[in-house]
């Protein structure tokens, strides 16, 4: 994640390079350092340096880093021909390198030649079975082919070893949601909350999953997690406010008729509805009437 200062610096440098002010190499280094994805610019400026023998020789050993960077960018822009040239140059310099092998596999992926890519990855994994990047590539490949279940399976296998990788947990949660396996997704979000208990987004997503699963217990838990999202964001999260309203409605419907005396007496939902209306009044007054009717329909406001 780039901080605001770094981002500004990157943008400034980009404008300078775009207008022919020089500093292309510095720009590329910064992109690499910040892991920014500006493939079109990287491709343009990187290729310019690579095609210019004098500029290229000035880089020395760094030349090959640039080849790798440009290859990635080229694949991102569907310029597979350029990527192929870059990878060829890298192969000549580092035959048998795993890092270059990964690039080769990705090129096959970019072309859509799944079976060949699979073959390359399998070969590389035989040498180093714990290569995180390749294991993740396999997940990505299954996902790209639309086979979410297989992707989830690969990811599960990956997480068996690298179980503290919270990005992988997040990806798995989203995969499970996409194939409607909510219980498993809930587990993943629990894991994410354990990992970063102060991140409101995980609380929100967990609440969403609980609400989707339904059932009184889950709904009550969902409401609690929506509340904690509100807490963590200071009431600024619209989705959490809606979540409170919907959960309350659903809970009321489920408990209607029985144990009247235990009725929820808190005015959280009305406060949430009020907060919603206020938010819309400030930021999207045109849609205010729509929201008011909706809330009135579910009897959140009178």
């Amino acid at each position: 994640m780039a901080t605001a200062v770094e981002e500004a610096q990157l943008n400034q440098l980009e404008i300078q390079v775009d207008n022919g002010g020089g500093g292309a190499w510095e720009y590329l280094c910064l992109v690499r350092k910040l892991k920014a994805r500006r493939s079109d610019k990287v491709l343009k400026h990187g290729l310019f340096i690579l095609n210019n023998p004098r500029a290229r020789s000035k880089l020395g050993e760094e030349e090959f880093t640039l080849y790798e960077q440009v290859a990635f960018a080229a694949m991102d822009c569907r310029r597979n021909d350029i990527a192929k040239d870059c990878i060829g140059a890298l192969f000549k310099k580092f035959p048998g390198s795993i890092r270059v092998g990964r690039l080769e596999g990705m090129l096959y992926e970019a072309k859509g030649a799944w079976s060949e890519a699979e073959k390359v990855y399998t070969r590389l994994l035989a040498d180093s079975p714990l290569d995180q990047v390749i294991l993740k590539r396999k997940v990505a490949m299954a996902k790209a082919q639309g086979n979410s279940a297989a992707a989830a399976e690969y990811l599960n296998k990956y997480l068996e070893t690298f179980m503290a990788d919270h990005d992988a947990w997040r990806e798995l949660a989203e995969l499970y949601i996409s194939i409607q396996m909510y219980k498993q997704a809930a587990f993943c979000y629990e894991e994410l909350i354990l990992c970063q208990p102060a991140c409101p987004l995980y609380h929100l997503a967990y609440a969403d999953v609980l609400y989707t699963m339904g059932g009184l217990e889950n709904l009550q838990a969902a409401k609690k997690y929506y509340s904690s999202t509100i807490n963590l964001t200071g009431g600024k999260n619209t989705r959490a406010l809606y979540g409170i309203c919907l959960c309350s409605v659903a809970i009321n419907q489920l408990t209607k008729g029985r144990n009247k005396d235990e009725k929820d007496i808190s005015d959280l939902q009305s406060l949430a509805a009020e907060g919603l209306l206020r938010d819309y009044k400030e930021r999207a007054p045109k849609k205010l009437s729509l929201v008011t009717t909706t809330l009135r329909n579910i009897k959140m406001v009178s």
Partner: protein, 246 residues
Amino acid sequence: MAEDLVLDTAIRNWVLVPLSVVMVLIGVLRYFVSKLMRSPQTLDAKIVREGQLIIRARNLRAAGGFIPVKSFRARRFYYTNEENGLLHVPKGQAQNPQAQMFSDPNMAMDMMKKNLSMIVPQSLTFAWVNFFFSGFVAAKLPFPLTPTFRSMLQNGIDLSTVDVSYVSSRSWYFLNLFGLRGLFTLILGEENAMDDTQRMMQMGGFGADPSKNLSAEKDGLDIFQHEWTISKMEKRAEDVLRKLVK
């Protein structure tokens, strides 16, 4: 005080300076040789897994209050149950590192390489110094010292009357051996300079037992009291919203 000894300039030219230069060159050479011999670190799946497991269990202990009681219990059972819990190390299976080292030929090989690159050149240079330059004074320190330094500075000269500020050649070799670290940092870069003393320390404190970490983490989880912090959130969210609406 005894009469000042006059040191031949030839000693400076043929002993003092060459000795230092040779020591530096050997240090650099050894660095490159060990770099060549270093085999790429292969990760062991089990070790990686254990490390990650400890992180995850620690997270559970630190933030257990943020997930519902049911989920917490399920996880705790998964980690600590006596049959096949991940953190549970069966008695007797806990390998001691020594045995592990011998069972893994790679590890022993690594150790040997490390030793080779350290001991062989050292003993060779020591023999060389001993053979050619033993038993005479090579330098004089520009400041006086107490007699306790005699064993450090006049190794190889058995004369108690010589002033302590004179340094014997063998001692000069030792001073160089242990004192050239700063120079190596300059030549080889911050990370690469490995001092001999450091290397010896590394050999000593070899191998911490990973199963100990696991069982410590297990005990921590066993006594952890789960308290669902989220259950209080509704009340607090109400306060937040009330403040916001008003």
